[in-house]
Symmetry: C2
DNA sequence: TATTATAGTGAACGGACGGTCACGTGTCAA
DNA sequence: TTGACACGTGACCGTCCGTTCACTATAATA
């Protein structure tokens, strides 16, 4: 119960910051959440702001190694149905993983106060998703599964509505089932609109 | 400089709450922003929390009279191009009107802390938009401008990406021009995909 | 064994916070 | 003229905030 204290503090900070925001969180409660008293916090961090900065460092690093580098990309689906399956798997993860949910809430709350949070929020909510799906859709077009079109535009048209419903899950968890159902319905609508009827395309 | 003080306090509160959040705003600065000293605030509101509640009352009432009641709906476009024009007009308003922008930021920041903010956020960011566009698309289908489909699904597929880019404007105002350009591009993509080539439909 | 580093504590700090109050105005009705 | 009221102020209150510090217990090092 010694060296991991720092990490436990960061975990508690993510929890509390994501719920009450930076300004709405105080060191006493944060310390209590890890079984310490407030003065002990300063053995591990030199200020409340440093906790915030290290937490953001961590989130940025995690995002980078998880989505940033080339070719951690999922495989190109072989059928339209596979796209739906893959999508629902991703959604299920992102909606149920505690740390991912808390990270999203944190970025939502603090995006107007901190520049690094602002930049990471744009990645999480917008560019990151299209960057993942544009190459997928491009590959599916090559396989003749989707009609030829601008992959980036398709990726945007596909991910933005899904992202909106993920935000709904964050905001109103009791609507999660409904939201996930709507995501699947939207995904099927999407393949109905953009999918090619025939799976072949001459050279 | 007497009776409108209350309203000026509310305007300043919207401004500061939307920037720094409820917890990050203090009465002294809020009072100074309207040229008062903090003790004077309590002639108009009995607590900081009451300011918050009245402000939310106001936002809910404004939303209700603006979008809530039946038939404040825009007219059904007669051409696909008109849909683009109408959309861009709405977007321009919602991105440039100071109070609308501040309201959106406030709801974004406080949606996890206050239940009424939570509910209003869902209206602003999700259901309100689809409720406006579903009947529009339904009407356009009747006119043979859009292919027959579920109007609610189309409205969702149309408004969610636009909403995502409006959020981008709120978050990174320097990207506004780019974002608005992308909205128009998306709108044209949408009518290219869902629009009927011929403007007639037999009975 | 003596020394040093680490992790934790309680008490205390100055300052900022939300809120109260006695008081001074100006306005307006009786 | 008087009284009541609305609005604004400076001084002040208790509390909570982030932070510091002298101190202790423990465990590794020499």
């Amino acid at each position: 119960m010694a060296k991991d204290t720092k990490e436990r503090i960061l975990a508690a900070a993510l929890d509390m910051f994501s719920q009450n925001g930076y300004a709405g969180t105080n060191i006493r409660e944060l310390a209590a959440a890890v079984g310490l008293v407030k003065s002990s916090m300063y053995k591990h961090f030199e200020s409340k702001e440093e906790i915030w900065n290290v937490l953001l460092d961590q989130m940025i690093a995690y995002y980078g190694e998880r989505f940033g580098s080339a070719e951690r990309l999922p495989p190109i689906p072989d059928t339209l149905e596979e796209l739906v399956t893959m999508t629902m798997g991703m959604v299920s993860f992102t909606v149920h993983d505690e740390n991912v949910v808390k990270t999203r809430k944190l970025l939502t709350i603090e995006q107007f106060r901190d520049d690094r949070a602002r930049a990471l929020a744009t990645k999480h909510f917008l560019t990151g998703l299209t960057d993942i799906f544009a190459p997928i859709f491009s590959g599916m077009m090559d396989k003749g599964l989707l009609r030829r079109d601008d992959p980036a535009m398709l990726a945007f048209a596909y991910t933005a509505p899904i992202s909106a419903l993920i935000h709904l899950c964050d905001r109103e968890p009791e609507k999660e089932t409904e939201a996930i159902g709507r995501i699947e319905a939207f995904s099927r609508h999407f393949i109905a609109v953009y999918g090619e009827k025939k799976g072949s395309e001459g050279p």
